[in-house]
Amino acid sequence: MSHPAPTVGIIVNPASGRDLRRLTASAGLYSSTDKASAVQRLLAAFAATGIRRVLLPPDMTGIAAAVLKASNGPQAAGQRWPQLDILDMPLRQTVEDTRLAARQMLARGVALIAVLGGDGTHKAVAAEVGDIPLLTLSTGTNNAFPELREATSAGLAGGLFAAGRIPAQVGLRRNKRLLVRDPARELCEWALVEVAVSPQRFIGARALSRAEDLAEVFATFAEPHAIGLSALCGLWCPVSRHAAEGAWVRLNGQAEQALLAPLAPGLVQGCGITAAGPLAPGVAYSLSLSSGTLALDGEREIEFSEHDRPTVTLDAHGPLSIDVEAVLAFAARHRLLAVGREHPQHPAHPQC
């Protein structure tokens, strides 16, 4: 099969993996060095699957610089890494950098965007790029949307798909989303995993991981093995990524029954559950609190008070993402990674 060499984008959130939960829970660190290494692993995999150009945003934390340096090294030459284009964009060191990078990649016609970050990073990219598929990689703290995967194997799956070697019906899945709307404030924000309603009045340090800070959780999907706020639904009223509906739970410390839920790494909390149920698509749910904050995919982002009327609606118009397991299973069945003697990485090739 012959396809034009596609361009792929990589977006890394330089800030992920450093929030309060390193103090309040036992969350680990995902350093800039680790992130730069993960990008290099992706590049090696993209190289092996025929990707010839990769777009990467600049950043203030040395990730792009480290990757650029490595791309001029012998390993990159030996593996024939794709050409690396650093996007020309101003940096604000806020989520707006992620959004701008996503828009630039959309304009450059990328076939795929690999996202390294937490649920919030994926949400920010997804809201900008329409139906460009996302290759999701977790470098956050409590991640449910991106699965925990090694970047090399995920990169092979993403590269094979971007190179046009995987049928869409095999390699792509459509995700659900939650929309938080308040027309009076011209507010319309996305969440890909959950929206949590908190009595905390301010965004503060953003992360939520205490039962008393939670009044209600709406989830697009909730898996029993999840970590983070969606685990509340996952261990009480689980719902799969593929089901049409979502789930919700309401919490109160005075409830008869409390659920032991892993709200953050190393932090299993007793959370009083007063009610729960399925979340019907297309229905605008109002909140159980009149003032507080809304955490979108684990981080408080919206403060609301008595005069606001935000609602939460589930729909099926979330992003497309690469089903890594399905892609690699297909690749194995069809020997897509088999190469002949003419391939430079074949052990009998003169260049090898």
Binding site: P14, R18, L20, L29, T33, M60, Q93, I203, A205
Partner: protein, 325 residues
């Protein structure tokens, strides 16, 4: 940590931040007159950090600061007139007018001192934290240093000591993006100062230093952790300074609109007012009253400092040597 602060606590936080801002903006004007001896390094723009951390401390907790120390002193409760007089080199200053801006100290308030040596506060607070631990109190010690200080060996030695001795010590890295004129994204390897905590086996977090509530919440968690015997931690607060490294710095290393944009979009006082009033927790009239009171306080401090007496030659050796019996 909860951000459920009551009205009194919210007003106190605002008063601290407003006092720091007014103090520094007045010094910016007064320094240009040439009346103030030595250098001053202004803290304006970074107020949420000092106010957010110090909201959790008591007089028996110690802090050590750096050359940009006015904000830490005010937030720790050091007398504003005493500070102004110290900066003017007057006998009524908190150190008798012999320290100046970079050496303001007030041990009764647990303020071990601003410090002209980059990173030198860190070993001091490790010592203070060791003292608290040996005495069996639940006091903590906090050091403030910058992105430049984060590269100093003394800071790493103090972190190592704090970690191996499990000291109630909090390392607050105020990363304002520049060590004097050198950008931190050039000079700090691994860029995120918080990442360095992992090398010492302590937690490190990065916090938005424009948001009082973010700093308050993170510092609260770190301080609570230290008080309860769980050891040291590193809090990196990302913020900016509104003025130069020192007064007179032409700041040719900064983009022309950098400060203007940050002042207009992220200023900590502006955010605090907007969010507390929108939430219905404070009213504009309450905050305006604080503004007016702070203005009077600063005016009074400057007027008195200017007219206060200078130290005399006979004062030269007082408070310098310990008199042993």
């Amino acid at each position: 940590m909860s951000t459920h602060l009551n009205t009194e606590q919210l007003l106190h936080a605002y008063r601290v931040m407003r006092t720091i801002r007014a103090f520094e903006e007045r010094l910016h004007i007064e320094f240009a007159t040439g009346e103030i001896p030595g250098f001053v390094h202004l803290y304006a723009g970074e107020e949420a950090s000092a106010a957010g951390v110090m909201a959790h401390l008591r007089d028996s907790d110690c802090i050590a600061s750096n050359h940009r120390g006015h904000g830490h002193c005010i937030a720790k409760g050091v007398d504003v007139h005493g500070m102004m007089a110290e900066i003017y080199g007057k006998k009524t200053g908190v150190c008798g007018g012999k320290g100046g801006s970079m050496h303001i100290a007030d041990l009764e308030k647990g303020m071990l001192g601003a410090n002209g040596i980059v990173g030198a506060g860190a070993p001091l607070v490790a010592g203070a934290a060791l003292a608290a631990k040996l005495k069996g109190t639940d006091d903590v010690a906090v050091v403030f240093f910058g992105d430049g200080g984060s590269n100093e060996g003394a800071v790493f030695e103090a972190m190592n000591l704090a970690a191996i001795m499990n000291l109630p010590c909090i390392f607050v890295a105020e990363n304002n993006g520049y060590a004097e004129a050198t950008a931190s994204n050039w000079s700090v390897a691994c860029d995120h100062i918080a990442d360095r905590a992992a090398g010492f086996g302590m937690p490190g977090v990065t916090i938005d230093g424009y948001d009082f509530f973010a700093v308050h919440e993170a510092a609260g968690a770190a301080i609570e952790r230290a008080r309860s015997g769980q050891g040291p931690s590193l809090v990196e607060v990302k913020l900016t300074r509104y003025y130069g490294h020192f007064e007179g710095d032409a700041q040719t290393y900064r983009a022309p609109d950098e400060v203007k944009n940050l002042r207009e979009t992220r200023d900590c006082l502006m955010q605090f007012r907007q969010r507390t009033t929108r939430a219905g927790l404070l009213g504009d009239a309450q905050l305006d009253l604080v503004d007016a009171q702070v203005e009077d306080l600063i005016e009074d401090a400057v007027r008195r400092a200017k007219s206060d007496p200078k130290p005399q030659p006979a004062d030269l050796l007082s408070d310098v040597y310990v008199a042993y019996p």
